[in-house]
């Protein structure tokens, strides 16, 4: 029996990045979902094999705009571990500061986008305006709002001057106050609650089984956080907690992200106030010894895994990037069935997809029903037959 195919994408106001959802719908309920995410493949992994360690870091950074520092840090710390280099504490703290600032700007951006998707433009305007405080800090420290270029193998490339530290510390109290207000808002604002609660629910078992990572998994009660499981940089020293929630729906994911904003503020403040003195880099050898490493990093969207293999030269043999968004697509496809069309943007946005990070994947359903476009008469007739109370007597 033919069903209605609503094609959302690759150009659609709901999506910030090109992706194509072919939604097989029955009225407003989704029956099946066909994902086609093949619009952004750039061959980064192949290109990385031809660049030495100085040139490959800017390439790694440009895998994604919003989580650029994640990729370059994951790669740099992987190579440093293969080379058995210990980078100085000041470099670690600076990397942590940039990493947490990046997490904050990513979460604030996500909050605005989620609000925009449910038509709540006021919160969208407010969060993006507060995000400017973070972006100003990043620009002062690194010279750019994204793609910071702070990392090199062996440490960081730029130091932080006392003026920059003081300016950053001065911006934090106002930001903290706004974030506290957002925490209250997420828990009490009626239209947000109505649109987010119960939507896209993933139980703890389902989340584990589908391999979800990041805030999506932590909203279902799973407390995996690479910063605590496999500590790196300054996360051992800074006082912070892993944030989990038990709701498992979009509401839970929103709560996890705003609480993580508060935790990030604490980490940034601690690192800014306790920045150790010392050098910011150690000299790194040109070639890396033969070795293999799985470098894991907690990007704003979840766990990022760089599998790096070196062969004794100054280039990597292979870098295999598994981004958090790729890991979360299975859960999206699974939890979209039997939801409303109106909730697609919200559920997809709840995993905070970064398609620039994701290579391309397509996920097809196992059923082999054919789908086709039906005429408008049939559409209206089928809608009316399912919703008799909407028909005027």
């Amino acid at each position: 029996m033919p069903e209605v195919v609503v094609s959302i994408g690759p150009h659609h106001p709901a999506l910030k990045e090109p992706v194509n959802f072919r939604v097989i719908a029955d009225g407003e309920k989704i029956v099946r979902l066909e994902l086609d995410l093949s619009y952004n493949h750039r061959g980064v992994e192949k290109a990385a094999e031809q660049r030495d360690f100085i040139r490959v870091l800017p390439l790694m950074e440009r895998v994604c705009g919003i989580c650029s520092h994640s990729h370059s840090t994951a790669f740099a710390k992987g190579i440093e571990e293969i080379m058995q280099l210990e980078i100085p504490p000041r470099a670690q703290y600076i990397r942590t500061i940039i990493a947490e600032l990046e997490r904050m700007h990513s979460h604030l951006l996500w909050l605005g986008v989620a609000a925009h998707l449910i038509g709540f433009n006021t919160l969208f305007m407010w969060t993006w305006r507060d995000r400017e405080a973070v972006q100003d800090t990043l620009e002062e420290m690194s010279g750019n709002r994204v793609h910071y270029g702070m990392n090199e193998v062996g440490g960081v490339r730029r130091d932080l001057t006392p003026e920059q530290l003081n300016a950053a510390l001065a911006r934090l109290p106002a930001l903290e106050e706004r974030v506290n207000k957002y925490v209250v808002m997420v828990n009490e604002e009626e239209t947000m609650l109505i649109r987010f609660r119960g939507v896209g629910r993933l139980s703890k078992e389902e989340a584990l089984r589908y391999g979800t990572v990041g805030p999506t998994a932590r909203a279902s009660g799973i407390d995996y956080d690479v910063r605590k499981d496999d500590p790196y940089l300054a996360y051992k020293d800074a006082p912070w907690n892993v944030v989990t929630d038990t709701h498992g729906d979009v509401y839970g994911r929103t709560r996890v992200r705003v609480w993580e904003l508060q935790e990030s503020l604490r980490i940034v403040r601690f690192c800014l106030e306790n920045l150790p003195e010392g050098p910011i880099r150690v000299p790194a050898p040109k070639n890396a010894p033969k070795g293999e490493i799985l470098s894991r990093y907690e990007a704003p969207r979840g766990e990022l895994a760089h599998f790096i293999r070196t062969n004794g030269t100054d280039k990597v043999e292979r870098v295999d990037i598994r981004t958090p968004t790729l890991a979360n697509w299975t859960s999206v496809a699974m939890c979209l069935v039997n939801q409303n069309i109106a909730d697609i943007p919200v559920i997809v946005a709840a995993i905070d997809p970064c398609l620039s990070c994701t290579s391309r994947i397509t996920l097809l359903d196992n059923h082999t029903k054919k789908a086709g476009i039906i005429s408008f008469d049939e559409l209206v007739r089928r809608y009316r037959s399912r919703n008799p109370e909407d028909v005027q007597p």
């Binding site: 709901a14 038509g119 407010w126 069309i341 408008f376 559409l379 909407d390």
Partner: protein, 324 residues
């Protein structure tokens, strides 16, 4: 019978079409400015809606393949004509010279026409997003029309007349209906927000879900005219609520000379419609969009029952009034 010249002036200049056009653009600007200030942005300059209208008139009209061009051209004009006509019966400076018994019902019907036109356009656009948007528009219409009509008919029940101008006169002698029927006032405001398809009820044109719903294939002068229709509906709706609940352009005592009364009435009209706009804009800014099935829930459970309760109260009060 009114003097033909006076009639023509009333209809076309003031307070007819020209005034309506300018006031609609002014209210659209105010709406955007208030929303922007609440969102801590700057907002557009005062002539922005006028500039948008002129610009859109000059843009290319794109016809999707296989679409009936004649209806696509005519439908927005029909919607515009309907709301402009509806304004003629709303009192602006005093009683409307075109008033007659039952003009309240006519105005309510004319205000529903733009939604029907949107459904027609959504159906005809040969586009799945427009079809879904059109269906949502009429679904929303079915949900809010019942409570909206009931809330606007309770003033008529209490005043004992079906003419808007006479209801206004009744309020001048007695009390504004906002004090006598507060529930009805709130239901009327909610219904007005839903009729104008503003957040939280902008479901049919939910930009992030179905592109622009039935508005998707409107371009050029068609879009300009439909936009103008919505802006004018805002004016007509606010003026209607102001007339039925806030006493319209009449003050509780008579003023001589009569032309001064007209001028004062006009200013009152402006103030009252601006007050209604302020409330509507605040609602628009402070909420997100709800889903159509949630609107179904809320609409029938709470809003419709509130309006029925209001009707019941009015009937009881009428009975007591007559026998007390």
């Amino acid at each position: 019978m009114i003097d033909p010249l006076y009639g023509l002036l009333y209809i076309f200049i003031f307070p007819g079409f020209l005034f309506l056009f300018l006031y609609a653009l002014f209210l659209a600007f105010l709406d955007r400015r208030i929303a922007a200030r609440m969102q801590q942005r700057v907002g557009p300059p005062f002539f922005q809606p006028f500039a948008d209208f002129i610009k859109m008139l000059g843009k290319e009209v794109i016809d999707p393949a296989g679409v009936d061009r004649a209806i696509f051209d005519a439908a927005p004009l029909v919607a515009l004509a309907a709301v402009m006509t509806a304004f003629l019966y709303v009192p602006v400076t005093g009683n409307s010279p075109l008033a007659f018994q039952g003009d309240l019902v006519v105005v309510l019907y004319l205000l529903s026409l733009p939604t029907i036109v949107l459904f027609l356009l959504g159906w005809l656009s040969r586009n799945i997003f427009s079809a879904i948007g059109g269906i949502r528009a009429v679904t929303q219409l079915f949900i809010y029309e019942v409570p909206f009509f009931l809330a606007l008919l309770t003033p008529a029940l209490m005043a004992g007349t079906w003419s808007i101008s006479e209801i206004v006169v009744w309020q001048q002698k007695n009390l504004w209906f906002i004090f006598l029927q507060p529930i009805g006032f709130i239901v009327a405001l909610i219904g007005l927000q839903a009729k104008l398809e503003r957040t939280p009820f902008d479901i049919p044109e939910a930009e992030t879900e179905i592109v622009a719903g039935p508005w998707t294939e409107l371009t050029g002068r068609r879009l300009a005219i439909m936009d103008l229709t919505i802006d004018i509906s805002l004016v007509v709706g606010s003026a209607l609520v102001a007339a039925l609940f806030l006493g319209g352009p009449l003050i509780p005592w008579t003023v001589t000379p009569s032309w001064l009364g007209g001028v004062i009435g006009f200013f009152l009209f402006l103030i009252k419609t601006l007050a209604v706009l302020l409330v509507l804009s605040s609602i628009k800014v402070a909420t997100g969009r709800i889903r159509i099935d949630q609107l179904n829930d809320i609409g029938w459970k709470y809003i419709a029952s509130a309006s029925i309760v209001q009707v019941g109260i009015v009937l009881v009060m009428n009975y007591l009034w007559v026998y007390a």
